[in-house]
């Protein structure tokens, strides 16, 4: 795909940051040989794999990057359905749920907004329970239909908004005029927006973690996630907004003010998404959604904040510039 210079620079910066993280993780292991940093090193190594594959897909083509997200959705849905109880009679219904991934990402790839936005919340919302009716088992109907729809909303509908950013184009009469950082950026604004969303979401997690580790005193959600503190939340949000305000105008079509608003949305929604997945795991009495990403847990453990930030950020952009 034609990537604008600012997107290329951002990708190089991410690789540089990973390099630093790798060096730091090796150095602190050398300095503290008796403490075990295996998880940290696994975490960094997995990040290399994620960033490596994603950048390759992005450089290759827009469709490849969208297929990458479809695959992430598939893995996340598989984790979700493997961890939650399901009725054996609903096997065929689950099969349709998997098929809907192909439909949803096809609508994203072809920039068919109307279908993209109604396919899962309307069509699948009606079709999956109808298919359940055809099987005829009424025991646990609400639980099965509700769980499955939530699974699709989280793992497919939400995440596909990140992919849709890639095909986003400025509308004919935007509410606010876009300020493109480069000519190529004006032709293909999607990659910059997507990179902004992912960078700010992931850094928000890290900022909140670091602030909490350093200054954390007062628990913010003791029953859901005892590690989260008010200090971590506020410090993280402030740092994220600041970072978004600096990054936005350089990388995306947003001006400084829009970038600050986007930063606020992502910081708060990211926190909520993270907590929501924690609550879900507590309810299911599991620690992680899986073990496919060494050092992180499952795919759903990695994209937990993104589940809430991507649709909100997308609609902010769509409302402002679409």
């Amino acid at each position: 795909m034609e990537l604008s210079p600012e997107v290329r620079i951002a990708i190089v910066c991410i690789f540089a940051a990973l390099l630093i993280a790798s060096v730091v993780s090796i150095v602190i292991q050398r300095l503290n040989p008796d403490r075990d940093f295996v998880e940290l090193r696994e975490r960094v190594r997995t990040w290399w794999a994620i960033v490596g594959i994603f950048s390759c897909a992005l450089f290759w083509s827009r469709t490849a990057a969208i297929v990458f997200f479809a695959f992430v959705s598939f893995l996340a849905l598989k984790e979700f359905l493997s961890m939650t109880p399901t009725r054996r009679s609903d096997r065929r219904v689950l099969f349709y749920a998997y098929l809907s991934i192909a439909g949803q990402y096809y609508f994203a790839a072809s920039a068919w907004y109307g279908m993209f936005i109604m396919f899962i919340p309307v069509l699948m919302f009606i079709w999956l329970p109808t298919r359940m009716l055809m099987i005829g088992q009424t025991d646990g109907f609400l639980r099965a239909a509700g769980t499955l729809h939530w699974a699709l909303m989280i793992t497919v509908f939400s995440l596909s908004h990140a992919a849709y950013l890639l095909v986003f184009q400025e509308g004919p009469t935007p509410r606010i005029a876009a300020q493109f950082p480069s000519e190529l950026g004006a032709l293909y604004p999607g990659a910059g927006l997507l990179l902004f969303l992912i960078l700010v979401t992931e850094l928000n997690d890290i900022f909140q973690y670091l602030w909490g580790k350093t200054f954390g005193r007062h628990k913010v959600a003791p029953r859901v996630s005892p590690g989260k503190t008010v200090e971590g939340l506020l410090g993280g949000i402030a740092t994220t907004i600041l970072f978004a305000g600096i990054l936005g105008p350089k990388l995306t079509l947003m001006g400084p003010w829009q970038s600050l608003i986007a930063g606020t949305i992502i910081a708060i929604a990211g926190f909520a998404g993270d907590l929501c997945m924690s609550a879900l795991k507590r309810d299911l009495k599991i620690k992680d959604f899986g073990a496919s990403l060494p050092g992180h847990g499952g795919v759903l453990d990695r994209v937990d904040s993104l589940v809430f930030t991507s649709p909100l950020f997308f609609h902010f952009i769509y409302y402002t510039y679409g």
Partner: protein, 216 residues
């Protein structure tokens, strides 16, 4: 066994299927035998069980891995027979014969032969896939084998999830992660009844590791 198609099938079809479409969550991989002779005892929910297990054991020992399967099911139609013996490499055992036949051979003799040759034998002592994800009573053949080969380690493996992905009588595969919990090797010196009690106990303990999630 087909020495070219068999490794190709496991490397190019079974491996991607198990790693991408389905996915396995293995606990205590290190307890699995690395080389034969060895006996692996697993519960049976789906045709996929045997592929999941063989995939986890890896491609290196593949040539010596032999699942035990029912002759009265797998040896009937020509293609099924070819696939079962040449590609999967089953040891066919006739479930209908439980006593010594006319030739005076013990019905489990083919398994003993493979064990003497240093093979890794996969045994599903429930005897049938049965109702998915329900443990049926174990057949006692495994106790006979353990007594006949006290030097061969018997490793219990509890599998869960594939009965949902592809249960008996279904043609559509639905992706699910499957859990594979490897237990500690059993004591082969015990008499039949105690051995079977030990086997059941081991599977009960392994099954308790599952997160609580069943509705129906």
């Amino acid at each position: 066994m087909n020495s070219i198609l068999r490794p190709l099938f496991f490397a190019l079809i079974v491996r991607p299927l198990m790693m991408v479409v389905l996915g396995t969550n293995v606990r205590r991989h290190a307890l699995l035998p690395k080389e034969g002779p060895a006996l692996i005892v697993a519960n049976h929910n789906s045709h996929l069980d045997v592929f999941a297990l063989m995939n986890i054991l890896g491609l290196k020992p593949l040539a010596s891995v032999r699942p035990v399967a029912a002759a009265d099911y797998f040896m009937t139609r020509p293609f099924r027979r070819w696939f079962a013996t040449r590609i999967v490499g089953i040891i066919p055992i006739d479930r209908t014969k439980s006593r010594r036949g006319d030739g005076g051979h013990h019905p489990l003799e083919p398994i003993s032969e493979v064990l003497r040759d240093g093979g890794i034998v996969l045994l599903f002592p429930e005897g049938t896939r049965g109702e998915p994800e329900k443990l049926d009573a174990f057949q006692a053949g495994v106790a006979h084998l353990a007594r006949r080969h006290p030097e061969v380690p018997v490793t219990p493996v509890f599998m869960h999830g594939l009965g949902k992905a592809l249960p008996k009588g279904e043609a559509i595969l639905v992706p699910f992660f499957c859990d594979v919990f490897v237990g500690h090797p059993l004591d082969s010196t015990l008499p039949k009844r105690e051995f079977m009690a030990q086997l059941s106990k081991s599977f009960e303990n392994l099954a308790e590791e599952l997160p609580p999630k069943e509705w129906i």
